[in-house]
């Protein structure tokens, strides 16, 4: 199949970039590294678009095929008779979509960084790390074996660590990188144990066989007796895998690393922490979706964690003053949307609407979100470069100085708020439909959250581009920074017109988006925009008065609900002081003390006995005599 070669190219070109720029970039290639990195990725993107086009167009009239190419006929790492990690590539609708998303966004970031990171001392290392990340992310979405996913999952985590800590002489950046890695590592522990459970139950690690074996109706593992807290083992496996995904996707309560991750360079935030890595958790659940749909309890978990994350993040975002942090919480909120949509399947009452609409909505939102969130971050990068600060109070009235960024930012904000005809409207509509049919309470939360989304995004928009009087001339922006903005803006605006449901599911229904259910979200969004405009359009004391009105909630939200402090308490006081320190103390004093004690005891006994060796000849003579006499008596009288 000629496609195999293209798919391999998609994967290997960024890896080649990493190796090349990593080994030789610093000394030999230097300033040219960016062009090389971007060029490699450009070819990779073309291949991805070609493969996706082939895949989806070949779809017309045929059922959605899941084609699995298995490379490396021999297994990579074998664990015995049936279980082994095989390196393979899986192309199905969501992976084909993802390779497009990852390569396109990565390419935009590569091009943008040509201007943004110019003159940076470790320029080639930056592009090397970007290449490593892109390779890992592509490997993650293309894996055909759950352990292979885990491998690339970890590689993505390391790339993220290296990129967040890129400015490594800043202690805050180092701390943020460590925090990100450790929190995601903790989640990965869940993923690993989940893999162990699922693979043991299904006796295979391959996705296709895994889903097949676990969803068989005879001897279904879902009907096994509960093993812990009333859930069978396979449910726990799925929950643990979900925990792994929740960590990577920064869902409550494993979200604490995402805001701090903004210490990395802004294009990195655009790529990793907005569009690609953080959706890995959503992708993982989507990949195992047929299993998740079989159990109601786990679906509840997914649903509630997603919804709580969405709401919590939106509330916190309303109070943050650092532009990147607002966007970070916004990302967390949108991912919450994607996740809870995946939890709606089981809860659908029988109806005409396909319960898979949650899945469709989630993937569609993933796609559109990648565009507008990356766009938001890149615009933020342009803004930050101009004003040399991340704080909103240093911005204001920038619409004359940054006209292109202004338009793009506006488009992105409209998209994220779900205003038609921009893309966010279509994807959110699917999600909200799913929520409406699954659980009205969740629908209410989701609706409220979308209002909040509109509010805090336009709060940001107005604070940056309006608020203060607009002065100044348009800032000269390099072409390499402008082109990605334009391309992403086009995507954010028009991606909604793609008939996603056709692409993802066989015989996907064409649902009418113009219906009663489409109206309330738009109205709430307009309300949110209106309130934001009223508060922030001009400089006034209305925001302070509004904040004072909600004082308790405002303070709590401003301090991110003290969750970070809670974590610090648990790790520092409890884990370090109550487990770590005693362990080290016990080792030094008790275990080692025992050994030393043995030595001391031996020495003392020896000191006591040594008196026998008195150096006096007559004592020795005595011993002689007693010994001989004793032996003589022994042999003459006792031993006959």
């Amino acid at each position: 199949m000629p496609n195999t070669a293209y798919i391999l190219l998609i994967l290997l070109l960024p890896l080649f970039g990493f190796v090349l720029l990593g080994l030789f970039g610093r000394r030999y290639i230097r300033g040219f590294s960016g062009v090389i990195g971007a060029a490699l990725l450009f070819v990779s993107t073309l291949c991805a678009l070609y493969v996706a086009y082939n895949y989806f167009s070949g779809n017309a009239g045929m059922p959605a095929l899941r084609r699995t190419y298995t490379l490396f006929g021999a297994t990579w790492l074998s664990f015995g008779r049936d279980l082994s990690i095989d390196m393979g590539i899986l192309i199905d609708p969501i992976s084909a979509m993802m390779i497009v998303v990852v390569t396109v966004i990565s390419l935009m970031v590569h091009v943008f960084s040509l201007g943004y990171m110019k003159g940076e001392e470790r320029y080639s290392t930056y592009y090397a790390f970007l290449g490593l990340f892109t390779f890992s992310m592509l490997g993650l979405v293309l894996s055909s074996n759950i352990f292979e996913t885990y491998i690339f999952w970890e590689l993505v985590g390391v790339s993220s660590f290296l990129l967040i800590g890129f400015y490594y002489d800043r202690p805050t950046a180092v701390a943020a990188a460590k925090k990100a890695f450790i929190v995601t590592r903790f989640a990965d522990l869940g993923f690993l144990i989940g893999i162990l459970i699922l693979s043991f139950q299904a006796q295979t690690l391959d996705f296709g066989w895994l889903i097949n074996n676990l969803s068989s109706f005879e001897h279904s593992p879902f009907n096994e007796p509960p093993v812990f807290l009333g859930l069978p083992l396979v449910d726990w496996g799925l929950i643990l895998v979900f925990i792994g995904g929740a960590g990577k996707s920064a869902l409550f309560p494993l979200h604490i690393w995402l805001p701090d991750a903004m210490e990395g360079p802004t294009p990195v935030s655009a790529l990793i922490h907005a569009a690609t890595m953080v959706v890995a958790g959503v992708y993982l659940v989507a990949r195992l979706y047929p299993l998740y749909t079989l159990t109601r309890d786990v679906q509840q978990v997914v649903l509630y964690v997603g919804a709580i994350s969405a709401l919590l993040a939106a509330i916190i975002a309303c109070t943050q003053t650092d532009i990147k942090r607002v966007l970070a919480y916004s990302t967390m909120s949108q991912i919450g949307y994607m996740m809870f949509a995946l939890g709606t399947y089981r809860l659908f009452p029988p109806s005409l609407v396909d319960p898979k609409i949650g899945f469709i909505g989630s993937m569609f939102h993933l796609f559109t979100h990648a565009f507008f969130k990356a766009l938001l971050f890149l615009c933020a990068g342009v803004i930050i470069h101009l004003v040399h600060s991340n704080e909103m109070k240093d911005m204001g009235g920038l619409r004359k100085r940054l006209p292109l960024a202004h338009i793009c930012f506006l488009i992105a904000c409209l998209a994220i708020s779900g205003i038609p005809p921009f893309s966010g409207f279509f994807s959110k509509e699917d999600i909200l439909s799913a929520a409406w049919r699954a659980d009205k309470f969740i629908y209410a939360i989701a609706l409220f959250t979308s209002g909040l989304t509109a509010f805090y995004m336009f709060r940001l928009y107005f604070s940056v581009f309006w608020n203060k009087p607009a002065t100044g001339h348009p800032h000269a922006q390099p072409l390499v920074e402008s082109i990605p903005l334009v391309i992403l803006a086009i995507g954010a605006a028009f991606a909604g017109l793609i008939p996603f449901s056709h692409l993802l599911i066989v015989g996907g229904h064409v649902h009418s988006t113009i219906g009663r259910n489409a109206v309330p979200p738009v109205l709430i969004a307009l309300l949110g925009i209106g309130i934001a405009a009223w508060l922030y359009y001009k400089q006034s004391d209305r925001p302070q008065k509004a904040a004072a009105a909600f004082r308790g909630l405002y303070t709590a939200a401003y301090h991110k609900f003290y969750i970070d402090e809670l974590y610090l308490f648990v790790t520092k006081k409890i884990i370090f002081n109550c487990i770590g320190r005693p362990a080290a103390w016990i080792d030094r004093n008790i275990v080692d003390g025992l050994m030393n004690g043995l030595a001391v005891a031996t020495a003392r006994i020896s000191a006591t006995i040594k008196g026998i060796q008195s150096g006096k000849v007559q004592d020795y003579a005595w011993f002689f005599f007693v010994g001989i006499a004793g032996l003589a008596i022994l042999f003459i009288y006792i031993v006959r």
Partner: protein
């Protein structure tokens, strides 16, 4: 392929060293000696593969036997199988690294290299022996030089550390010897091959002597609670000795546990399995927590070795084929990784004269090569895919999960949890030493790695990467 060459070559090198006149000659002769050794082990690997493809059935190849003390049935009996070949290759690589890293030893250079090469001869002999007594003989050969190396060329509380290490290892060997005698009393022979092919010993004998053998070898492999020689011993030792100690010497214990204790007495092993698993898990988790609290780089690595060698014992205790393979993989992976780590720490110590994490900082800018080596070793320690640690640890986990009793499952879960704690201490060490602002302005004038340190780093990293990205050849080698 005469296996005794592996022992003769180091001894020959030692002999040549006696004729060297200058320090530079000593270094070069040693370097050439260990390089020849490395080439020889690669040749062995290739020959083994070819021979194995031909005689698939026989397990041990290149056998040779010579009667030594016929009255006691002691023979000089050597042979290799896949695992031995892998361990010999590991030893050769670490030795090359160790010699290179010791290029700047100032005092009594000749004696240092003589002792180091003697250690390696002992290790090679251990891995190729098929006679229990010969095995024990070579084990002993490699204990005394460690005492001298740490006591003379070490740093910190070196006399105390040397004494503690020597005494505890001697205690281990004493226990092993009791076990060996027990085996002899039962089988009237020291021949391992014959004992493998015969049936197992009666259960009562097994039950009595298995603890001696296992605990004896286990002390070498940091079995809780006899692991306390590791932190002081590894940290006070000179870099090359640390590399050998952590990289190879601890594997002598693992190899002994697996090859001698478990293989000769499988029924007793199964009975004692819960105990072994418990001790191994405690070693892993407790070792990891203790590592978190350490302030000295070498202590961090030493406690981390206790924790990682716990995986070897865990795999040994679980007794499933996958877990045993994982234990062997971990022996090789950890050997390379910890040698690399000690080499990096040694380079840093040589330049900054401090190992305390709080006094170091911002070294990435000043010595990028050493920093990269440090980071790679750290990432391997935390089990990053693409490096050998992942392969080994995941195999142990998958193998351990096969035993479905809840106690074993709990042990597996706890051992898995250690990957988080490992991440914490590795990242703390990396973040504080390499990243951040430069702590002491004097560090700005330090130099990066020289040719010998670069070569060590590249060699060991290559090994780690090869196993990490293409583990199938190694698992095939181990599984015969």
């Amino acid at each position: 392929m005469n296996l005794s060459l592996l022992i003769i070559l180091p001894l020959l090198t030692i002999l040549l060293l006696a004729f060297c006149r200058s320090q530079s000659q000593v270094r070069w002769v040693s370097f050439i000696g260990v390089t020849v050794q490395l080439v020889l082990s690669l040749v062995l690997l290739a020959l083994y593969w070819r021979e194995h493809a031909v005689h698939g059935a026989t397990r041990f190849l290149f056998e040779s036997r010579q009667s030594w003390f016929s009255a006691l049935n002691i023979e000089y009996h050597v042979g290799v199988d896949g695992i031995s070949v892998a361990m010999i290759l590991l030893t050769a690589m670490v030795m090359v690294g160790a010699v290179l890293v010791s290029w700047n030893i100032g005092a009594q250079v000749k004696e240092f290299f003589v002792l180091l090469l003697l250690l390696s001869a002992g290790a090679y002999g251990f891995f190729i022996s098929l006679d229990l007594f010969t095995l024990f003989f070579f084990l002993e050969v490699s204990v005394i030089p460690k005492f001298l190396l740490i006591g003379i060329w070490g740093s910190g509380p070196k006399e105390y550390a040397a004494m503690k290490l020597a005494l505890m290892l001697m205690a281990g060997s004493a226990l092993t010897f009791v076990g060996v005698l027990g085996v002899y009393y039962q089988a009237h022979s020291f021949d391992l091959l014959r004992m493998f092919s015969e049936g197992a010993m009666p259960l009562s004998v097994q039950r009595f002597f298995f603890p001696f053998l296992f605990v004896g070898f286990g002390i070498f492999s940091a079995l809780f609670p006899f692991h306390t020689w590791v932190p002081d011993g590894h940290s006070s030792a000179p870099t090359a000795a640390s590399m050998f100690l952590a990289g190879i010497s601890m594997k002598l214990g693992g190899y002994g546990c697996l090859r001698v204790a478990i293989a000769l007495m499988p029924d007793a092993a199964r009975e004692y399995s819960p105990v072994i698993v418990t001790l191994a898990t405690i070693g892993i988790v407790y070792g990891a927590f203790a590592t978190m609290m350490q302030k000295d780089l070498k202590y961090i690595n030493a406690y981390s070795s206790v924790s990682h060698c716990g995986f070897i014992l865990l795999g040994a205790g679980m007794l499933t084929p996958t877990a045993l393979t994982g234990a062997y993989l971990q022996m090789i992976s950890h050997g390379l990784m910890t040698a690399l780590f000690f080499a990096a720490i040694g380079s840093i110590y040589e330049r900054t004269h401090t190992r305390l994490v709080e006094r170091l900082g911002g070294l990435q800018k000043i010595m990028p090569f050493i920093a990269t080596i440090f980071v790679i070793a750290g990432l391997c320690s935390l089990g990053l895919p693409g490096l050998s640690g992942f392969v080994a640890e995941m195999t142990v986990f998958m193998g351990s999960w096969q035993r479905s009793a809840s106690g074993y499952r709990l042990a597996t879960v706890l051992s898995c949890a250690s990957i988080v704690i490992t991440a914490v201490y590795i990242l703390r060490a990396t973040g504080q030493t390499l990243m951040g602002p430069v702590k002491d302005p004097q560090y700005n004038s330090l130099t990066d790695a020289k040719w010998n340190e670069r070569l060590t780093g590249i060699l060991l990293v290559a090994g780690i990467l090869v196993i990490g990205t293409a583990p199938f050849w190694l698992t095939e080698l181990i599984n015969k």
